[in-house]
């Protein structure tokens, strides 16, 4: 695999694009950085130069999210090009759309540290998807919000230290059912065992506050 990647920045803020270019050039795997911000410019360039990675802003020009339209078009014509979405528009509901509908490879918050962008580049080169930490946390919160009542009951009892069999008795269900619920949750939250699951759950319930005694507001951001 070619080490030196050609990167195209699609961004309408010129100052931001210039700043980003400077930072990107500091990355060892980046060879060249190009800039375009309009439809025709983008596709003309793509015809000329073989781009490896596109860093795409979603809010270009007047029309909101024409970035989504462009991403779809690029993936149609140049399926091998990796698209990293770098945008202020960090929404959980866009997560699904971008990855599943548009087929992008990374989704990063513009507010995040440049390290996120570096990580994204490294990950997508390896043909993997990358999600900004904040986004992934938010997505996880979303998943937590959608667990069923039964699952909540089980987790609460686990949190209190009850064993699976005891939980089954308390809830008047089959221990096998309890086991299957726990397995299901573990898969969903990518945890190795029940302990980790419970830890994650507790963290979720405390809104990821590290110090439970501190009462917000602290630095929100």
């Amino acid at each position: 695999m070619k080490q030196h990647k050609q990167i195209l920045i699609i961004e309408d803020s010129k100052s931001f694009a210039q700043g980003l270019e400077l930072l990107l050039m500091q990355h060892k795997q980046v060879e060249n950085v190009y800039q375009e911000n309009d439809f025709d410019g983008i596709f003309n360039l793509l015809k000329e130069i073989k781009i490896d990675i596109i860093i795409l802003d979603l809010n270009l020009g007047i029309k909101e999210n024409d970035g989504i339209i462009i991403s779809k078009k690029i993936k149609e014509q140049y399926p091998t090009i990796k698209i990293i979405v770098l945008t202020e528009n960090v929404r959980v509901y866009l997560y699904d759309k971008l990855f599943n509908e548009c087929g992008v490879d990374a989704y990063i918050d513009k507010q995040s540290d440049i390290s996120q962008t570096y990580k994204a580049i490294e990950t997508v080169i390896q043909n993997r998807k990358y999600v900004d930490d904040s986004i992934s946390t938010m997505v996880e919160i979303g998943v937590w919000m959608r667990i069923s009542t039964r699952e909540t009951e089980i987790l609460n009892l686990l949190k209190k230290g009850f064993l699976q069999k005891q939980i089954a008795d308390k809830l008047f269900i089959n221990p096998k059912t309890v086991e299957s619920h726990i397995r299901n949750l573990s898969q969903r939250f990518l945890v190795k065992n029940t302990t980790e699951l419970v830890a994650k759950y507790i963290k979720y319930k405390n809104a990821n506050r590290e110090n439970m005694d501190i009462i917000p507001p602290f630095k929100t951001g």
Binding site: E88, R91, Y93, G142, M145, N206, R209, P216, P217, F218
Partner: protein
């Protein structure tokens, strides 16, 4: 100019001619029709009349219409088509009800009812006919009808009515110097008086009639008058005068070629002689009468005469001849049906048999006589009683009619007065109604004006609120920018004086991030949904937002029930307002409440009311009087949603309850 006038004159003449032509058509038709009737061509006559009818109907000539209908009725009457005749007569009455034509029609209808033997209708129509006639001007026709009517009245015993008519007719004919009619009327009055039993008066009128007939040299009528007078005299037992008159009657009657009555007059004379006592003369006169009657072939009279002859000869004891005469009488009697003559015959036979000493036969005949007499007597009695009863009934009916008409008159008067009072009432009510309507409209107008004022005031307050909000946001932005950016500006300026650039630059970057975020929040609150709604549904946006809150503000959000899909069906405006409220609420909680947990419950009830409760465990806010912009925003947006919001706050936390009617806020087109 001259030619123009000529043309004008011609034009007028032509129009007139054409117009008069039309009018002439009608009389022509009627004349033709009359001729056809005289020729007995009834069907053609009716056709012509019907043509005339259409013209009269078109031009609405009432009088002509009545006349034509009457004429048609008359033709049908001649054809014996009673149904059609009466129909047309009735039409005539309907068309021109108070005219002479109507009077004639009434009269003709009474004749029809005579045929149908309907006495009451007959008299009714006759009365009506006379009633109209009395108001008409005096014509021959009128009094001619009077005469006919009097005959009808006589028949039903309404003698007074008959006499009244005849007297008024007489007065007219006197004026007109119409001797013939005077004579005829006198005779008729005589008949009536006789029927009433007023013999003297009757005789008087007959004599009058005689005198008038003498003036006219009317042989037949003279003879009749003499006969009538003689009859009365005979009843009055003035036989001598009676004989004289009979003789006179005979003299005149003989001059007339064929007259059935001559024989009767002879026998009258004969009986007068007999009553007087001159039996010989009576005998010869009877024989003479018999002669003449045989020529006249008057069977009844013949048998009658034979009876009397037999009686006469009985006294002379010429029994053979008597028998002869009795038998002859019987022979003639068998051809006719006259009980009086038969009775006489039986009587005479009884006497005869007694005379020839055949007592059993005589007795038998006597019994026969009694029987027949009884029956005849009973018949006569019952007839008499019937007559009297009819008279009484008719008088009673008349009284009833009179009473009813009075009743009707009084009733119509009450109706009149009631109508009048009703009219007054109506007038009053309508005026009242208009007043009430006026008041009602006035109040409605006032209401409208009030509503408009209210609307204007409301819009003004909305506008004021908007201004306040804009002002506040402006202030917020100003604060953020001025304070923070200046700080950063200074920090950057201070950079070259410091060693740890990396650390400082990180700090600055961090601060800028923070500022960005805050600005975005402000702009977010300005336009809550913005373009996001195009990317996905409201429910997804809300869920995303709550996740962001949890992530950024580190407050645990417990969504106890999913947000209902119906929220997505609301109008864009309503969705914006609802989301705006959520933003304000969460803004309050994250900025001021110092909460660690938010519990959200929401559902839609059966009536379509959406209820959401947002409860936090923060410190609450002390007084709601200190309304910040957020609260104003919340209240306004709630109003736009036609919803209700309740805020309960204590130091243990705050609960905000929002009620929204989903259906009102749903747009059918989305």
């Amino acid at each position: 100019m001259f030619s123009k006038n000529v043309y004008l004159v011609f034009f007028i003449l032509i129009i007139n001619y054409g117009y008069s032509q039309k009018k002439e058509k009608l009389p022509v038709l009627l004349k033709k029709a009359k001729k056809l009737v005289e020729k007995l061509e009834y069907k053609k006559a009716i056709t012509k009349y019907e043509e005339a009818l259409t013209i009269a109907e078109k031009e609405n000539l009432k009088q002509e219409l009545g006349f034509i209908y009457k004429k048609i009725g008359f033709v049908y009457f001649k054809q014996k088509n009673i149904k059609q005749a009466s129909f047309n007569f009735k039409k005539c009455i309907k068309a021109d009800s108070l005219s002479q034509n109507a009077a004639d029609s009434y009269f003709n209808l009474s004749l029809i009812y005579r045929k149908l033997k309907n006495k009451d209708s007959l008299l009714y129509h006759l009365d009506r006919s006379i009633k109209i006639y009395t108001k008409q001007e005096n014509t021959n026709k009128k009094f001619n009808t009077y005469q006919k009517a009097s005959t009808l009245y006589n028949k039903y015993g309404l003698y007074e009515k008959a006499i009244n008519l005849l007297l008024s007719a007489y007065t007219y004919y006197e004026k007109e110097n119409d001797v013939k009619n005077k004579a005829s009327i006198s005779k008729k009055i005589g008949i009536t008086q006789r029927l009433m039993g007023n013999l003297e008066k009757s005789a008087m009128y007959y004599k009058k009639s005689l005198n008038l007939n003498m003036e006219l040299n009317d042989t037949v009528e003279i003879a009749n008058s003499c006969n009538s007078i003689a009859n009365i005299l005979s009843i009055q037992k003035k036989q001598d005068s009676a004989i004289l008159y009979y003789q006179k009657a005979i003299r005149f009657k003989e001059k007339v070629p064929y007259n059935k009555e001559l024989g009767r007059i002879w026998s009258n004379l004969a009986s007068a002689y007999y009553i007087k006592g001159n039996k010989e003369k009576a005998l010869t006169t009877y024989k003479k009468a018999l002669e003449i009657k045989k020529v006249e072939k008057d069977s009844m009279s013949i048998s009658y005469t034979y009876n009397e002859l037999a009686m006469l000869l009985m006294e002379k004891k010429q029994y053979q001849k008597v028998k002869q005469y009795i038998d002859s009488s019987l022979t003639y009697l068998s051809t006719i049906n006259n009980n009086d003559v038969l009775l006489r015959n039986i009587e005479i036979r009884a006497i005869y048999y007694k005379a020839i000493k055949n007592y059993s036969k005589s007795l038998e005949l006597r019994e026969q006589y009694q029987e027949l007499y009884q029956t005849l007597y009973n018949e006569k009695q019952s007839k008499l009683i019937q007559n009297l009863q009819e008279k009484f009934e008719s008088k009673l009916k008349q009284k009833k009619i009179h009473d009813l008409s009075i009743n009707v008159k009084t009733k119509s008067k009450t109706i009149e007065t009631q109508k009048y009072s009703l009219k007054q009432k109506n007038w009053f009510l309508s005026v009242l109604g208009i007043l009430i309507l006026g008041l009602f409209l006035y109040f409605k107008l006032r209401q409208k004006i009030k509503a408009k004022d209210y609307e204007v005031k409301r819009l003004e307050s909305v506008f004021e609120n908007q201004e306040m909000i804009k002002e506040s946001i402006g202030r917020d932005l100003h604060d953020i920018v001025s304070s923070n950016y200046n700080g950063i500006r200074l920090k950057i300026l201070a950079l070259d004086k410091n060693d740890t650039i990396k650390q400082k630059s990180n700090e600055i970057a961090e601060e800028l991030k923070q500022i960005n975020h805050e600005i975005r929040l402000v702009s977010h609150r300005l336009s809550p949904l913005g373009n996001r709604i195009k990317e996905t549904s409201l429910v997804n946006i809300i869920n995303s937002y709550l996740i962001e809150i949890q992530y950024y503000s580190k407050i645990f959000i417990d969504i106890q029930s999913e947000f209902p899909k119906e929220l997505n069906s609301m109008t864009l405006k309503s969705q914006t307002n609802f989301y705006g409220i959520l933003l304000e609420v969460f803004n309050n909680i994250t900025k001021h409440a110092l909460a660690t947990k938010i519990i959200i419950t929401n559902k839609i009830d059966e009536k379509g009311i959406y209820k959401i409760d947002i409860q936090d465990n923060g410190k609450g806010f002390d007084n709601i009087e200190n309304e910040g912009i957020g609260l104003i925003n919340i209240k306004q947006r709630t109003q736009f949603l036609n919803g209700e919001i309740t805020i309960n706050s204590s130091n243990k936390g705050t609960i905000i309850e929002l009620l929204i009617p989903i259906n009102i806020n749903t747009d059918e087109t989305t």
